[in-house]
Point group: C2
Chain length 216, copies 2
């Protein structure tokens, strides 16, 4: 089973690595990190760098396509017709096409989410409507073969659902145990709908700082 | 505030990227991914590659040092006296020295955890005793300035504690909201102490497969 994770300059690392770490622990799964061009990919923080071993010319099918999000550079990807066409082409071959965070905005820009319910990071989620999708403020939204998940860390939960669908419950549960995913956050501050207003305002400022970083 | 994350061939990506993604969203934090030698670092799965921009010669102090784990190559790191001495030297400058997963075995190999309680991934945790530490099967264990966390995904929870200690509760909560860390795993299978025996056996097989991959 081949899983393609699309990476690009400005990507949010945990969007990609959270699901990867669950899925790579499934038997018989191979994961390719695919970029428009091979070579170095810089994360949105500009503090960490991936090395893409595959470019989009080399990968023309996948059982699963995953589109991670980014702090700001999803906007550039949404306008890159070559990338969007590659996503459409791969999607035509997938069992599942999934996104994390603002990855759903890139996916929606292809037209593939038209009239479908979808989620995204809590801050830009309403942009989905402008792209023809139906913004749905839930952690994981499934519409046929499309699964979109909310901000950053939600990709881990989405990957467990995907693992169950691809390989069955036993394999998904074992992958969860391998990565000891028994989350115990010390605060209850991860959900936009229940976070304190002061924390929401403060988080928005951080997101604005993130969005000011210039990605090459 | 400077955070150094030590990376090495065979590293488990989520061990490093989980905490990174929380900590990089704190104001005024800079994170350096540091390897013994600059250049490409291959993950334990051999499916994803980082590019280390700093080597250990260049980084001689940090406010926080984080040691991530690995499927098997922690054993090599535990025997590398140059790496162990670098960890001891950086530790002499830190406010906090922390580990995720089998990173605690590398940390214990330096002697810094002698007679201290520590945790690790559920499978190799008892090796801590051979290294002079006191194995403690909890998700997060704090002993003075040392914080060790359990397998892979536990580093996200540990990073929230660290964020609170470094920057205060408001900043930690905002970082949690930025990454939408409101975990909702669909299975309750991430804890060794409560997982079904059949799942534990199956997960052990996966861990054995992981450990058979040859890391350069």
């Amino acid at each position: 089973m081949e899983i393609a994770i699309y990476i690009y300059n400005g990507v949010t690392m945990l969007d990609a690595i959270g699901p990867y770490e669950i899925l790579r622990n499934l038997k018989g799964v191979n994961i390719k990190f695919v970029a428009k061009e091979k070579g170095e990919i810089i994360a949105d923080s500009q503090m960490v760098h991936l090395n893409a071993k595959y470019d989009i010319e080399e990968v023309n099918k996948a059982d699963v396509l995953l589109i991670p999000g980014s702090s700001i550079s999803f906007i550039k990807e949404m306008k890159d017709e070559k990338v969007l066409q590659w996503i459409r082409d791969i999607d035509a071959t997938t069992q599942k096409t999934v996104s994390v965070c603002t990855g759903s905005l890139i996916l929606a820009a292809t037209g593939l989410l038209k009239d479908k319910k979808a989620t995204s990071h809590w801050k830009p989620i309403n942009l989905l409507a402008e792209l023809g999708a139906l913004p749905t403020r839930e952690r994981i939204v499934e519409e046929g073969k499309y699964i979109t998940s909310a901000g950053v860390s939600s990709g881990i939960d989405m990957a467990l659902l995907l693992a169950k669908q691809l390989k069955g419950e036993k394999d998904a549960k074992a992958a969860q145990l391998v990565v000891e995913y028994d989350p115990k956050p010390m605060f209850n501050s991860g959900n936009y709908l229940s976070a304190e207003p002061e924390i929401i305002q403060y988080a928005k400022k951080q997101l604005e700082r993130n969005a000011r970083i210039i990605i090459p």
